[in-house]
């Protein structure tokens, strides 16, 4: 710990040297939407005649800009909003809250924009690599399965982000596993972001403001996962007027209510969603006593204490309930709460303090005449964060802070009429981090973002930890409650740079190290609600990844078209797999760690995206060429093999066309190489049953996947304050039978032979949704 602190101190000592000798004044404040008071993230500020100056508002809508004395003209711009020109005579430090007017309210429509950076040419000026920002409003019109708009499915259409399966909300970033994505909802980690076997995500887009995904080169304030950060922010709620919006779909309905608590100052939003297939099923005799539904509830309120201090309270609660004929029931879900305190300490220093609670648990029960058993598990976090944004000078923007998370993991424990011979105890651990990151404009053309995150993971007492080497028990450590066990320290340097070649193009290079101390043991692609999270232990080491990326961006036609190309290479250490025959799903053995195997991973690829950002036709084409491999001690004769989600080609084409002010058409097409799988290379017979023989792991391919989805949105004329819209769509419009599962089995139609049977899921799935707001 002392080492950690002194390291950080050295870093801080250098900073003042960078910012001596300034003779400027600052302009600072917050940026809001004029109509509803919603704080705006990523609004860009430009100073006329001085391209080196300029800034971007942070995730709480705060900005600070250093300006030389005298008359200045500042342009404030944000996608979907009117540009605001502000004339100022700078004589001393100035506070100014800015209200931007949505262009939609001036007659223009936002549907022209699909997915775009927040600033027209932000792709050229930011040093951040592998980042995509999704504006929730703008994904509304894309076709989706069952008409449930879903950010987790939209991001899968971006380069380097792959779907884990048909219609699934799980995703893999640059060859990483599903658990290597840090998914944050108002800073609270979401441990299982899916509903109903993965076909829906936990994100109700009515309650969301903004989402961004960073593919491995995240700045130092983020940490804890190897592959990506998906940072989702909830809406703050309208602080001007009460507003209601909702939707009625085939699968679920949604309703949101928002409004001011004190006008101009504070607001709230409550948003709910529930599926209702079960309400109809319940009417049939077959389904009597059965339940099958999920729901989400998002709530947020903010309160302005005074000009410089504001408090936010946000919460999420969602559950999946599945019960069959009173004999079998499952119930799982996430609950999280975030209490945040934003404080403007000075015109250059902004702080945010967050206390975050997060809980994921499941509860399964089964009963018949003979047996009744229950299975329960949970993962619970208490998380305290202190983060500072320091607009140190016109060319240094510094983020620094600390973060402590207390994890409690209660592994699956059986209760009821059967008891386990190896009851599991809850395990606790402490994850700590200290970080600093500097966004440095070195010259007019060169910007750097560099930082360091020092992370420490401590195993806390309360259980006995066995130490296995290659599956053999070597030793054990008994930690009494309150005792501190082993601590893993990791230094995670991050660097990204952007060199602006000219007005329309830039070149980027980045390196980043990430570590991960929570690991998900899953034996399926899409993930089961019962998949077990485990912390690093004496046997399980922290996962470590090093990623290098190089990119080139070019804009055309006054930033209307944008092309980004990125290449990456990623090396991953301490990757986890499990031995053949291990039953990890219900964890019946003495210690699951005895069944784990460890090794390395590597991933490399080339990502390409071309966007058209304005006009009647908007959209993008994204293509990824990639390779992902693993080498695990004890699997595939210790040779490198394809990871399951290794897919050579991935192509997405997304287009939205504004046909008339009332009608919008959109479509998307995806094509990808099949997943790497293991097919049998022969068969034999045991006990009179046919058994298949396998050789190299994942040396075969599922058939290639392709699909076209279409949708049309009709927006009726606004009547007084009420506006309704209809969305019609079809998923898999040409009915391609994509392979979801291939089963090898005895052929019932032709005895004495075997066959390969392909199961396909969704073809021609129509949807219709009615949305309204007033």
């Amino acid at each position: 710990m002392i080492k950690l602190v002194s390291c950080a101190l050295v870093l801080f000592l250098f900073i003042p040297m960078l910012i001596l000798g300034q003779n400027k004044h600052s302009l600072s404040g917050t940026v809001k939407d004029k109509q509803n008071g919603e704080l705006l993230i990523g609004v860009s500020f430009r100073v006329e005649g001085n391209p080196r100056l300029g800034t971007i508002s942070n995730e709480y809508g705060f900005y600070s800009l250093s300006l030389p004395e005298g008359n200045q003209i500042v342009y404030v711009s944000y996608v979907g909003y009117e540009v605001q020109k502000i004339k100022l005579n700078i004589t001393n430090n100035l506070k100014l809250d800015i209200f931007l007017e949505s262009s939609a309210d001036n007659g223009a429509t936002l549907s022209e924009v699909v997915v775009t950076s927040r600033k027209k040419d932000e792709n050229l000026s930011t040093s951040q690599m592998g980042t995509e920002v999704l504006n929730i409003k703008t994904i509304e019109k894309l076709p989706v399965l069952f008409g449930e708009k879903d950010i987790l499915k939209t991001i899968q259409l971006l380069p380097g982000i792959k779907s884990t399966g048909e219609g699934n909300s799980g995703f893999s970033v640059r060859g990483g596993a599903v658990d290597q994505n840090l998914i944050l909802l108002d800073e609270a980690p979401v441990y299982n972001a899916s509903h109903l076997l993965g076909f829906f995500s936990t994100f109700n887009s009515d309650a969301l403001k903004d989402a961004s995904i960073i593919k491995g080169n995240a700045p130092a304030q983020y940490g804890g996962r190897l592959s990506s950060v998906l940072d989702v922010k909830m809406k703050d709620g309208n602080n001007q007027n009460f507003a209601v919006n909702g939707g009625i779909g085939l699968i679920s309905s949604r309703l949101s209510v928002e409004g001011p608590i004190q006008k101009d100052k504070s607001s709230f939003i409550i948003s709910g969603r529930r599926t209702y297939a079960d309400l109809f099923l319940g009417l049939t005799e077959q389904f009597q006593g059965s339940e099958l539904f999920f729901y989400d509830l998002n709530m947020k309120a903010n309160y302005q204490i005074n000009k410089n201090n504001r408090i936010y309270l946000s919460g999420y609660f969602g559950r999946d309930i599945l019960g069959l004929n009173n004999s079998f029931g499952t119930n799982w879900g996430n609950a999280s709460g975030t209490l945040r305190w934003n404080s403007i300490i000075s015109n250059k220093l902004f702080s945010n303090t967050s206390l975050i609670y997060s809980n994921y648990n499941y509860d399964i029960s089964f009963q018949n005449e003979v047996v009744n058993v229950g299975l329960k598990s949970k993962i619970q976090d208490w998380n305290l964060k202190k983060d500072f944004s320091w607009y140190a000078s016109d060319n240094h923007f510094i983020r620094f802070g600390v973060n402590t998370i207390h994890h409690t993991i209660a592994p699956a424990n059986i209760t009821g009429s059967l008891s386990s011979s190896f009851p599991r105890k809850s395990r606790t651990s402490l994850e700590k981090a200290i970080y600093i990151n500097d966004d440095h404009k070195v010259t007019e053309k060169l910007t750097l973002s560099y930082g360091l995150r020092i992370s420490a993971f401590t195993i806390l007492g309360g259980d006995t930890y066995r130490i296995y080497e290659k599956g053999e028990l070597k030793d054990s450590v008994q930690l009494t409650k309150g005792a501190w066990g082993k601590t893993y320290f990791n230094l995670e340097p991050r660097l990204s740079s952007n060199y602006r070649i000219n007005q329309v193009s830039s070149f980027k290079v980045a390196y980043s190290r990430n570590t991960q101390n929570l690991h998900l043991l899953s034996n399926s692609n899409s993930g089961n609600p019962t998949d077990q999270w485990i912390g690093s232990s004496y046997t399980v080491k922290p996962e470590i990844s090093d990623q290098i990326s190089i990119g080139y961006s070019r804009n055309f036609d006054d930033n209307n078209y944008e092309i980004n190309v990125e290449g990456y290479y990623k090396n991953m250490q301490n990757q986890i797999d499990y031995r053949n025959g291990a039953d990890i799903s219900f964890n019946v053995g003495e210690d699951i760690e005895a069944d784990l195997l460890f090794g390395r991973g590597r991933a490399y690829g080339l990502e390409f995206i071309a966007k058209k950002k304005e006009g009647k036709l908007t959209g993008w084409v994204s293509y990824t060429l990639s390779k992902t491999e693993r080498k695990i001690d004890g699997i595939n004769n210790n040779q490198w093999y394809n990871s399951r989600l290794d897919r050579t080609h991935d192509l997405s084409v997304v287009a939205t066309y504004l046909l008339s002010p009332k009608w919008t058409l959109s479509g998307l097409f995806v094509y990808s190489t099949g997943n790497a799988v293991t097919f049998p290379t022969g068969k034999y017979e045991l006990n009179g049953q046919t058994i298949f023989h396998y050789d190299s792991r994942n040396a075969d391919r599922m058939p290639a996947y392709n699909r076209l989805d279409l949708s049309a949105t009709y927006e009726a004329k606004k009547r007084k304050k009420f506006q309704g819209s209809w969305t019609f769509g079809v998923y898999n419009a040409y009915g391609r039978q994509n392979a979801y599962i291939i089963d090898f089995q005895d052929n019932p139609k032709n005895e004495g032979t075997t066959r390969a049977l392909q199961t396909s899921l969704f073809r021609w799935i129509p949807n219709i949704t009615y949305n309204f707001k007033f």
Binding site: T530, L686, Q689, H693, L757
Partner: protein
């Protein structure tokens, strides 16, 4: 319980799924040596079957290996050379019935290579009866069968159940461990094989064989179970089950107890 979870998946699939047979160009690594050895505590012919694997597209006809030298020994001085019958089967000569607590060693010498395996015959746990347990799923009632026995208090008992029904061609092979429910009366039922088009009906006789097996065999059959019915992209990455045979052959050698009981479906 795992089965119940997959029922939920099935439910979802039936809403939208469709199936078709497909042709795949599969690699052919046929000709692997397969050894299946079973020694029970009953007075019955104990067989070791040696065959070779075939390619996926061939018929389920497995070439018999008839020229092997197969010997069985135990830690009480027994040495038995097995006699070839037919269809790859070799039968014991001296061994009448296996004895609980003894470790049996199988040695197979074929085409210049030696394969060995060991298995310890566990203590017998009496199968005292069978009971039908009704299972209601979406309005349909079907039956599972509960093997009635009391697990011994010491931990480390493993069981295999082989269930057949008179109207059914298929069978169910399931394994259990006392990692759950150690030392108490069994509460876990076993499925009865039932074809979708031709389900089990009243009057069918259900036969259950209960075996006490050793730990290696339990692990082996658990791995086999994971392979069946959970194809690529759905379940685990399939791999060959961890065999207790040294020398590179596939299959297993199991010394186990055996008890058979039957019950009629009402």
């Amino acid at each position: 319980m795992k089965k119940q979870l997959s029922i939920a998946t099935v439910l979802l699939f039936t809403l939208a799924a469709c199936e078709k047979e497909i042709d795949l160009n599969l690699e052919n690594k046929s000709g692997q040596l397969i050894i299946e050895g079973n020694i029970s505590d009953q007075v019955e012919p104990h067989l070791v079957r040696i065959t070779r694997s075939v390619s996926f597209t061939q018929a389920n006809q497995y070439p018999a290996v008839s020229n092997a030298l197969v010997t069985l020994s135990d830690n009480a001085g027994l040495v038995d050379t097995l006699k070839y019958l037919s269809d790859g089967n070799y039968r014991t000569n001296k061994l009448k019935a296996g004895v609980s607590g003894r470790t049996y060693t199988l040695q197979v010498f074929v085409e210049g290579k030696t394969y060995t395996a060991q298995s310890e015959l566990p203590e017998r746990v009496p199968l005292t009866g069978l009971r039908l347990v009704p299972m209601t799923f979406l309005g349909n009632t079907s039956y599972d069968v509960l093997p009635e026995y009391i697990d011994p208090p010491t931990l480390g008992n493993f069981y295999a159940f082989i269930v057949k029904a008179s109207s059914q061609k298929g069978m169910v092979f399931e394994t259990e461990t006392d990692n759950f429910g150690n030392g108490v009366a069994n509460q876990r039922d076993v499925e009865i094989p039932s074809d979708e088009d031709n389900p089990v009906k009243a009057g069918d006789i259900v036969n259950v064989e209960m075996r006490s097996i050793d730990k290696n065999i339990y692990t082996y059959f658990t791995a086999v179970d994971q392979l069946i019915g959970d194809g690529p992209n759905g379940g685990i990455s399939p791999a060959n089950p961890p065999s207790n045979i040294n020398g590179g052959a596939l299959g297993y050698f199991s010394a186990h107890t055996s008890q058979v009981r039957s019950i009629t479906i009402k």
